[in-house]
Structures are given as structure tokens and as C-alpha cells.
Amino acid sequence: MTDFVKAARDFISGDAHADRVVPPSGITARLTTFVSGTMAFLTVFALALSLASGRLATRWGDDLAHSSTLRISAPAGQVAEQTAVAIRVLESTPGIEAVRALSSDEQRALLEPWFGPDLPVDSLPIPQLIEILETDDGYDAAGLRLRLQAEVPGAILDDHTRWRKPLEQAAGRLRLLGWLAIGLIAVSTAAMITLAANAALAANAQVIGVLRLVGARDSYIANAFVRRFTLRALTGGAVGTILGLGAVLLLPSAQSAGGFLTGLGFQGAGWVWPLLIPPLAGGVAYFATGAAARRTLSESL
């Protein structure tokens, strides 16, 4: 570890002479910094999307996995009676922690987004909903259905599996897509930096020729280019990350509007992830330029 730190420190502090052998300016310098900055900016968003999807998948997975709903559709005169029976059955079922029949107000609130606030719940044949909270071990859904079928004919048990799984899968896929986007951004960055490095190496053919003539090793020549490109990518990556984080912070907060998109961002330890983007951009540039330099140098005597 100490050796790695020393090597990294030496690499960053560099060799003043080696740094000077490559001409300091050129379009490739600006291109590398710009590409790294842009890619870092996009990576911040891909990361935010991935982390938000991850949180969503966890929430749906954990929260909804321990709750179920019993719906009682019965003629108006029998609803109260069947509700009472259902509650008794549920309370005596192992694996169920709590049972609660939703009030008219709660049911109205559930329907409000679709029908508006003045819905006359009492005069409509709306099924009675019973919220079931499970213990960690859960209950035997098949057994419970059989009991309910016998004792409460109008009861339909929804353990959320039917719609929770696809949502969980969708959130998981979205998270995967975020990571895939980050991978593609890294590969694209490597490709762009390789192109820029190749252009720089081609433009500096005379520099390479002179260095070889005076006995410079390939590693010396390659390092002069690699260090420059790595530092440019590091700088671009840092600027892009800062701008990306700024843009994420400017998104509306989840509390003010609600919904998935407004929850896009970083929370808690998630803030550490974006800090890894600039060193990763530098790492991509380090390996991409190193490979390009070694390939170019190996083609000449």
C-alpha cells in the first residue's frame, strides 16, 4: 500500500524534465479535458439514477413484502359482518402481526387522486379494505385463502406479490441500466481519450523521434504523455462532477412534490460514490493513454 501511495505521489508530482518534452498545448488537451468533464457530468446522473432505483427496489421489496390487503366485496348489508369475521380469522392466523380495517376517510384518500376529493364513498359499492401487517416469518397465504373462502365468501386476499415483483424487477433493471450507462460512459471516455492520445502521439512524432535518438526508454516517453493525459482527465472529471452534483442538488426535493423522479439524487453514504468519478476518469485516461502510447512506440524502432 505504501509503495502504491509513493508511486501515485511520484506520478502526480512528476518529473519536470519529462513533463517538458511534450509540447504543452493543442486541441487534444482541450478535447481530453472537455470529454472527461462531460462524461463525469453524465456519470453523476447515471449514478444518481442507479442509486435512486436501488432505493426504490429496496423500499418496494422490504416495505411491501411485509404487508397484504384483504378486500371484502359483499352486499351493503353484509360488509360490516364479513369484515368482523375476516378480522377475527386474520387475528387468529399465525404470521400476522396486525390487522386494521381502513376507515371511509382513508379509502376516500386512496381514491382521491383518481376521482377527486368529493367522492361519496358511503353511497358507492366500494369494497372494504383491511390492511394486514405480517411478522418477519410471514403467513401461509394458501391456507389463509382456504379459510377465508370458507368463512368470508366475499374476501379476496392480495399479498402484493402479483404487482410487487414486476415493480421490483423494473426498479432492479433500472438500477442495472444505470450501471450499464456508467460502464458505457467509461468505455466511451476511454475510446475518446485513446483517439486524442493517438492524435497527440502522431502530432508529436518528431518529439518521439528525438527522444528515441537520445536514448529515452519507451516507459519514459509513454509516461510523459500518460501523465499529461491523466491529469487533464482528472481535472475535467473533477469539474464535470462538481457541475453534475450542482445540477442534482438543483432538482426538486422528494418532500416537496413526491414521486420517483423527484427522489433522484444521493442520500447518506451514496454521496461518496460521485467522489470516485474524478479518480476513475484519471484511471481510464491512464490506462487508455498508456495502451495507445505503448502501441505507437512499439511500431517504431
Partner: protein, 225 residues
């Protein structure tokens, strides 16, 4: 040091050099002559491994060039000072830094050699041009700077391609004297030149062999026949 055995070099389907055999011993002094386009530059490039012979063998410091790694080539070039006809430099750094480049790439602190560098630049008449950039120099000044760069590491061998082509007689004598001094220190020198006056002047001061490339082959020339 440098040894060529039955070496040939072809390019673009035509043979430029053939049946070249030569051994450059330590402390020897050679001139290489021949008409323009006869292959003098190609021969020098074979001698420091910038070109690979198409047949025959080239040995640098007892190593077959074909068996040398890229690092071996770099190490060999540190022992061979080369002056090209077109004198390539790093155009964005001052001429003093260009001359000190062989020290830099070998990891030697050029600050420790400031006095040597200054003296060398004075010797080649570039004492007042140390901070100039290469494009600001005349052809003759560039040649002198290239020679200074070639000798700053006190290499075992100096290969110079027309090193006095663009300088006046007085300066060419001065540069020749520098090479003669190196030769007296045991260094091997090979100069490709058309300048017969330079060869005559050198032969008056040092034991030098004159080689000639004609019809793709290397021969002893003139008085050395």
C-alpha cells in the same frame, strides 16, 4: 563496439546496401564518403539500430540487433551520439535544454552538469544562444547544437552525418577538433561527409580511415585503398 557482417538493406524492392562488413573498434576514427544517395545515411542508421538489416548481422556492443529488446536499443543509443543531417530538436524548449536532453532522459540531474553544458555550448559557439528556441537558430547553429547534444554524454561512439555541412571553415575545424579530442579519449568516431578538405585536415591530426560507399558496397577509399 559496432560490427556489421555481410549486411544488406533493401527498401521498396531495391537493394540500397549489400555485402557490408565493417567493425568499428574502440578508439577508431572513420570517414564515410560517397555520392549523394549512395546510402551513407542508411548505413549510419544501420549502425545505431534505427533501421534493421534485411540480411546479414549487425551487432551493437556485442549484442545482435535482432535479439535486442526495445530497452536494449535505448541503452545502446545512450552509448552512441548521433548527429543527423536534418538535426531534429524539440522546438518548444530552449537549445540548452535540447543539448542536455540525453542527461534528462537518463535521469541525470542536468543542474549538476550546468558547467559542462555551458562549456560545451561555448565550444560550439552557442554560448549566447542557450535560451534560444531551435527554430530561431540558423542551419549551421542547429548542426553545432546537434553535435553538442551528441557528445554531452561522452558516448563511446559518435556517428555524424554531414556535421559541418552548413558551417564555415573555421567552425568546421573547431567541431572537428572536438571530435578529435573525443577520439583521443578513446571514443569511436564516424563522420559521413563530402568535404574532402575536412578529411585532409583530420588525417593530418589523427589516424583516420576513409570509407566509400559505391555501387551499394563499402570500400576503402583514396589513400586508404
Amino acid at each position: 563496439m559496432i560490427e556489421l557482417e555481410n549486411t544488406a538493406y533493401s527498401y521498396g524492392g531495391g537493394e540500397l546496401l549489400s555485402e557490408i562488413s565493417l567493425k568499428l573498434s574502440p578508439g577508431s576514427f572513420h570517414f564515410l564518403t560517397g555520392p549523394s544517395g549512395s546510402g551513407k545515411t542508411t548505413f549510419l542508421k544501420l549502425c545505431y539500430g534505427a533501421l534493421t538489416a534485411t540480411s546479414g548481422q549487425v551487432r551493437l556492443f556485442d549484442q545482435d540487433v535482432r535479439d535486442m529488446t526495445r530497452d536494449d536499443h535505448a541503452m545502446a543509443r545512450r552509448r552512441i551520439g548521433v548527429v543527423h543531417q536534418d538535426c531534429q530538436f524539440l522546438d518548444h524548449i530552449p537549445i540548452a535544454d535540447n543539448v542536455a536532453l540525453p542527461l534528462s532522459v537518463t535521469g541525470r540531474d542536468s543542474l549538476e552538469h550546468v558547467a559542462d553544458l555551458k562549456e560545451l555550448l561555448q565550444w560550439v559557439g552557442l554560448g549566447n544562444r542557450a535560451s534560444s528556441l531551435p527554430p530561431e537558430l540558423s542551419g549551421g547553429e542547429r548542426q553545432r547544437a546537434a553535435l553538442a547534444r551528441a557528445v554531452i554524454m561522452s558516448p563511446d561512439v559518435v556517428l555524424a552525418d554531414e556535421p559541418t555541412g552548413n558551417v564555415d571553415w573555421e567552425m568546421s575545424q573547431r567541431l572537428l577538433q572536438l571530435l578529435i579530442e573525443l577520439n583521443r579519449m578513446g571514443k569511436t568516431i564516424m563522420i559521413a561527409t563530402h568535404d574532402m578538405n575536412l578529411i585532409r585536415a583530420a588525417k593530418a591530426k589523427v589516424q583516420a580511415r576513409v570509407l566509400r560507399i559505391a555501387n551499394r558496397k563499402l570500400q576503402l577509399a583514396g589513400a586508404d585503398l
